[in-house]
Symmetry: C2
Subunit: 425 residues, 2 copies
C-alpha cells in the first residue's frame, strides 16, 4: 500500500468534513485504491477553537510553512477560502513539487494562470473538483468524459444560496429582502451576502467551467455579472403565469471563435430540466456536438458533499502517474483568437407601465419593430391609476438591439420596469 503524507490548509466546515470522511472510510480507501492518506499537519488560525471533529492537537499549527515547506508532505489540501493567503500558500506548495487539491473557486478563478504555470514548471498536480458544484463531478465529466465533444453551451444553477432565495420567492411570493433575512438566520446566506447574491461566486465558477469546456482560458473579468438583489417578486409571478421559472443562471456559449459568458437572473421554460432544480441544489446543463443534452444535478455545497469531491480528487491525484494539466495557455486573459461578445442573442422578458391611452401599445411594438424584434407572448393587465401593466416576451433578439428599443420606449409614454433574459428554448 502506498502511504501519502498530507497537509491540510484550513480546518473549518469542509476541512472537518474531509477529516471525518478520511477517518470513517479509511478501510474502504485502502481496499479500493491501495492508498493510505496520513494527515501530518493542519494549518489553523486558532489552535483552541472548538471543532466538529476531534483532531489530535499535535497536528495543528498556525505556521503555513510547516505544511508547504515540509519535504515529507506530498499532498496539500486547501480549504481556507478567499483569495489570500490561500493562493500564496498553494503557490508555495506547488513550487515545492507538492500535489495541491483545492475547494477554493475564488483563488482558482482569479489566479489560475499563476497556479497552473507553477504546477507545470514543478511537475506538480493541481486538482479542483470541489471548487465547482460540491459533490457533482462536473470538472471530471468535462475533462475526462466529454473530451471528444465540442461543448457549445453550458447553463448552470451553480450557487445554492441564490437558488434557495429564488425558489422561496417563487413558491411563497415573498420579497427578496424577507427571504434573504430568513436564509441568513438559517445559515444559508452569509452575514455579508454580496459574493452570492451579486453573482461573484457563480462568475468564478463559470469562468473555471467554461475554460475547461472550451479548452481556452475564459478569465473571470470577461464574465458579465448581474445578481438577484433587484429581482421583484412581481416578475417571478408574471413569468410563472407565462410558463417560466426564474433562476440565477451562469451561462457560457461558444460559436466558432466568439464566446459569451454571463451570470444573470434568467427565465427558463417550466419543462426545462433546470426548472425543477429547487432549493439549495445545483445543476449544470450542457450541450455537446456529440453527447447532445446532458445535465448533472446534486449538492453544490455542504461539508459532506464537498468532502466527497475533495477525497475523490485526492484519490484521482494519487492514482495518476503524471499530473493532469489543461491544454490552454497560462495567461490571465482570453485565449488568442477568441472574442467575447456582450451582444448575445436570447429571448427577453420585458415589463412596462404605460399611460392608459390610445396608441401606447402601437408605440411600444413599433419601437421593438424598428430594431427587428418580434413578440412571442404579450399580456396586458387592467390599468390602475391610469397606468397599464404590460408584460411581453420577445423572440430571439440581440442584447444591443433590445437596449436600443427600450431606450426609445422610455422616451415615450411608457416606462420599462424590468428586463429579464430568457433561455432554454
Amino acid at each position: 500500500m502506498r502511504n501519502i503524507i498530507v497537509g491540510f490548509l484550513g480546518c473549518g466546515n469542509i476541512g472537518c468534513g474531509v477529516w471525518k470522511l478520511l477517518s470513517e472510510f479509511e478501510n474502504d480507501i485502502h481496499h479500493r485504491s491501495n492508498v493510505n492518506f496520513q494527515v501530518k499537519r493542519i494549518l489553523v488560525r486558532d489552535m483552541k477553537k472548538k471543532r466538529d471533529e476531534i483532531i489530535p492537537e499535535e497536528l495543528l499549527t498556525t505556521c503555513a510553512a510547516d505544511i508547504t515547506d515540509d519535504p515529507e508532505i506530498e499532498m496539500v489540501v486547501e480549504f481556507m477560502g478567499g483569495e489570500e493567503p490561500a493562493t500564496q500558500y498553494m503557490l508555495r506548495a506547488l513550487e515545492n513539487g507538492k500535489t495541491v487539491v483545492t475547494a477554493n473557486k475564488m483563488a482558482l478563478a482569479l489566479n489560475w494562470h499563476d497556479l497552473q504555470a507553477t504546477a507545470q514548471k514543478n511537475n506538480a498536480g493541481l486538482y479542483y473538483e470541489a471548487a465547482v458544484c460540491g459533490a457533482i463531478p462536473v470538472i471530471r465529466t468535462t475533462i475526462d468524459s466529454l473530451q471528444a465533444n465540442r461543448i457549445e453551451a453550458m447553463m448552470g444553477i451553480i450557487n445554492g444560496t441564490t437558488n434557495y432565495i429564488l425558489t422561496r420567492m417563487s413558491q411563497e411570493g415573498s420579497a427578496y429582502q424577507d427571504v434573504l433575512r430568513d436564509a441568513q438566520r438559517l445559515g444559508l446566506a452569509e452575514p455579508d451576502p454580496t459574493s452570492d447574491v451579486e453573482g461573484f461566486d457563480a462568475a468564478y465558477k463559470i469562468s473555471i467551467l467554461s475554460s475547461l469546456a472550451f479548452h481556452a482560458r475564459v478569465p473571470f473579468d470577461v464574465v458579465y455579472r448581474e445578481g438577484i438583489s433587484k429581482v421583484d417578486a412581481l416578475d417571478i409571478a408574471y413569468g410563472k403565469e407565462m410558463g417560466y421559472t426564474l433562476k440565477l443562471l451562469a451561462i457560457a456559449k461558444r460559436d466558432g471563435n466568439v464566446i459569451d459568458a454571463r451570470v444573470h437572473p434568467t427565465f427558463i421554460p417550466r419543462e426545462h430540466p433546470l426548472s425543477s432544480v429547487h432549493g439549495s441544489f445545483n445543476a449544470v446543463f450542457l450541450h455537446g456536438h456529440a453527447c447532445q443534452d446532458m445535465m448533472l444535478f446534486g449538492c453544490g455545497a455542504g461539508s459532506a458533499p464537498t468532502a466527497s469531491a475533495v477525497v475523490s480528487d485526492m484519490l484521482y491525484a494519487a492514482n495518476r502517474e503524471k499530473p493532469y494539466h489543461p491544454t490552454f495557455s497560462n495567461e490571465n486573459k482570453l485565449a488568442e483568437g477568441l472574442t467575447v461578445t456582450d451582444d448575445w442573442r436570447c429571448s427577453f422578458y420585458i415589463r412596462l407601465t404605460a399611460s392608459d391611452k390610445p396608441g401606447v401599445m402601437a408605440y411600444i411594438t413599433s419601437c421593438l419593430g424598428e430594431e427587428g424584434i418580434s413578440i412571442r407572448n404579450l399580456m396586458q393587465r387592467e390599468a390602475v391609476d391610469g397606468h397599464a401593466q404590460i408584460v411581453l416576451i420577445t423572440h430571439q433578439a440581440g442584447e444591443c438591439a433590445i437596449h436600443k428599443a427600450l431606450d426609445a420606449i422610455n422616451q415615450g409614454d411608457a416606462k420599462v420596469e424590468s428586463l429579464i433574459r430568457v433561455e432554454g428554448k
Copy 2:
C-alpha cells in the same frame, strides 16, 4: 504523439458514429491528448453493405482473427451487440493482451466474470462507459468520483424505448399497444421489442451499475424483472391524479449486507427529479452517504451520444499506465456475505374493483391492516354496473406482506386489478 492501432468489431450505427467522431475530431484529439488512433481493420458481416460513413474498403474484413490476433492492433472496440460471438471475440482480444472498449451491455452483464478475469490475467484493460446510458458518464462517476461514498441507492430510467412509450401513454392517455406500434414505425423500438419492454435491457445495465456502486458483483440473474407490456393507461391516469408519474425504473439498494435489485414499472412523485425525464432521455438518480442526492441526465442511446462515450473510453484507456479493474471477485455470483432480498420495502399503488355493497371497504382495509399496512391516499370512484373502482397508495410496507394482503382481498368481494410499486418519498 503516441500512435495507437485500433480494430473495430462491428460497423453498424454506433461503429459508424465512432468512425465519424474520430475523423472529425482527429486534430482535437491530437492536441488535447497527444494520442493518434489509427483504425487498421473493421470486422463486418457484409462487405458490400451501404454504410452512413465512407470507409475505405481495404479496412473491412469478415474474419475476426484479423483483428483479435493481429499483434499490431493494441485496442479493440466492440459494438456488435448481442452475447455471441461478441463475447468470444472480446475474450480472444483480452487473451492477446489488447485493451477492449465495449458498448455491449448484454455481453458484459452476462460474461463480466470471464471478461474481467481474462483482462486481469493478461494485464489488459476493459472499459464499458458506452454500455450503460450512452453519453452519460455514469460508470466514470461511480468509479472515479464517488470512491469515497457508500452508495446506498440507485434509481435509473435507463431504457429509452420504454421511457418513450410511457411518456406518450401518460401525455396522450393512449394504450400500450398503440404507442408501441408507433415507436416501432419511428425506429424507436425493435421489431421484436422484448429486450426493452420486458426489462431485460434495463436489468443488464443495473446489474453492471450496482456491481460498481456496491463494490460487489450483482449478477444479472438476481435482478427481479417486470416489464411494461401489462401497464394499463388507466393506472397512469389515476397515478397522475394523485401526483405521481409512472416510469420503468431500475433500482438497486444496499442496506448493510442486504441488497435488492429490480426493474419494474414504478410511480414516483411529480416533484422527484426523475419525474421530468421525458421521451427517450435517460437518467440515473443516486444517493451516497457523503455526496447525498445526485442525478445524471442525458442521451442514453443514439449514434453520436454513444460514440461520445466510446471515444472517451478510448482516450481514458490510452492515458492510463495501468488498466483499471474493479475490486470485486471475478465470479458469476453474488459476492460472499451478501444476500439478495425479494422482500424489499416501498409504498404500493393498488387498484381494485369491488362489489358496491356495505362492508367492502372495511374488508379491504382490514386485510391490509392484518399485515400491518397503513394507507396514505385513497380514492373511490362511483360504481359502474355495481362495481366500485378503488385506488389506494400505502405507506411503506414489505413486498411479501403486500402479496399476503392482496391474496386475502382477492378471496372476498374485491378483486385486485393492479399493483404498482411507489418509490422516491
